[in-house]
Structures are given as C-alpha cells and as structure tokens.
C-alpha cells in the first residue's frame, strides 16, 4: 500500500517523533509506514486521517502493478 504520510508530515514541519507522539505509536512505526514496510491497522489509519483532516483514501492508496 502506498501513502503520502511523509509529504503530509513535511507540510506541517513535524518530525517522525512528533507525529508518533500525536498518534500514540513509536517513531519506528511512522518510519516503517513511510517506507512502505508496514501497513497500519485500520484504527491507526483512521487516526492518521483524522489528524491530517483528510479522508483515508487521500492518504493511503493500493499498490497498482
């Protein structure tokens, strides 16, 4: 699954640690999501969407080969 998390975070000038604090996860989780090595759970995806004030599909999109 692809995501725009890194770009959205950069827009707000947040570090990975700051975003992790806001989402109640570890910085490693944010790093793994941004690098596409980990797909967040649905509850976390909703929290991310709520934090950025965007629908989930504007942040996450399926891989298309």
């Amino acid at each position: 699954m692809k995501n725009r998390l890194k770009a959205l975070r950069a827009d707000r000038d947040w570090t990975q640690a700051e975003l992790a604090d806001r989402l109640h996860v570890t910085r490693q989780t944010i790093n793994a999501i941004e690098k596409g090595k980990y797909d967040p759970s649905l509850p976390l995806a909703f929290k991310i969407a709520a934090l950025f004030g965007l629908p989930i599909e504007e942040i996450f999109s399926p891989d298309t080969d």
């Binding site: 700051e18 992790a20 604090d21 806001r22 109640h24 996860v25 570890t26 490693q28 989780t29 790093n31 793994a32 090595k37 980990y38 967040p40 759970s41 976390l44």
Partner: protein, 140 residues
C-alpha cells in the same frame, strides 16, 4: 504537552508490563526448578508435596502467560505485529526441526532425544525472528 504525556504513557506502560513479565518468568523458572529438584533434594519424594509443587507451577505459569498477553497489548502495533510474526516463524521452524530431531534415533544418528532441547530451538528461533523482523522493518 499532551503529546509528551501520551508518549510517556506508551513507554511507561511497556516498561511496567516488561518488568511484570520479567518477574513472572523468574517466578516460573523458580517454581519449575522447585518442581524438578524438590522431590529429591528437599521433601524426599513425598507425592502430596510434589502435587502441591506442580499446582504452584501451573498457577505461576498461568500468571506468566497472562503477563505476556498484557505485555503484547501494551506494545505499539508495529512491535506487536513483529512479535506475532516471530511467533508464527518460531512455530514453523520448531515443527520442522522437531520432526527431524525426532527421526534421528530411528535413523541411528542419535541414541536418544531430549524433549527439553526443543525449548532451546523455540527460544533461539523467537529471539532471532524478532531481531530480524524488527531490523528489516525499522532500518532507516
């Protein structure tokens, strides 16, 4: 301010459950040693006391299991996913190696097998799986 408290509570919860798991595991190891060596070294093979030691071991073992589940729940979701995948890998590795190990006496490669050796396979597989999966997911 609020965010700092949130991160602290995540880390504090994990530290607390790690310490509880450490204590529970230590108590289980102690009660297992008592159950194993107590009959010959302490109470002279009294069956009633041995059953009591087994009951204590079961209770402490259940507490250790509860502590482990609590520890898993306190983890951040990436940590939890890593541990669950490591458990799946450990199950598969242990199954394959145990079947091979069990076949060695029949093949006259070993005189006998020790069931306790499976515990080493479980422990080593689990630790290596957690480390490998974590490093793979969190590498910068």
């Amino acid at each position: 301010m609020t965010d700092t408290r949130t991160e602290t509570s995540l880390q504090a919860g994990l530290k607390k459950s790690t310490f509880q798991l450490f204590l529970a595991t230590g108590a289980w190891v102690g009660s297992t040693a008592l159950m194993s060596f107590g009959p010959s070294a302490i109470w002279g093979f009294d069956v009633a006391v041995t059953f009591l030691a087994i009951a204590v071991n079961l209770i402490v073992g259940s507490f250790m299991l509860y502590s482990f589940f609590k520890h898993l729940k306190n983890m951040d979701e990436l940590q939890r996913q890593t541990h669950l995948e490591a458990m799946a890998l450990t199950l598969g590795i242990t199954m394959v190696l145990t079947v091979i190990y069990g076949a060695l006496p029949q093949a006259k490669v070993l005189a006998s097998t020790q069931p306790a050796n499976v515990l080493f396979v479980i422990g080593i597989s689990y630790i290596l799986s957690v480390i490998t999966l974590w490093l793979w997911r969190t590498s910068e």
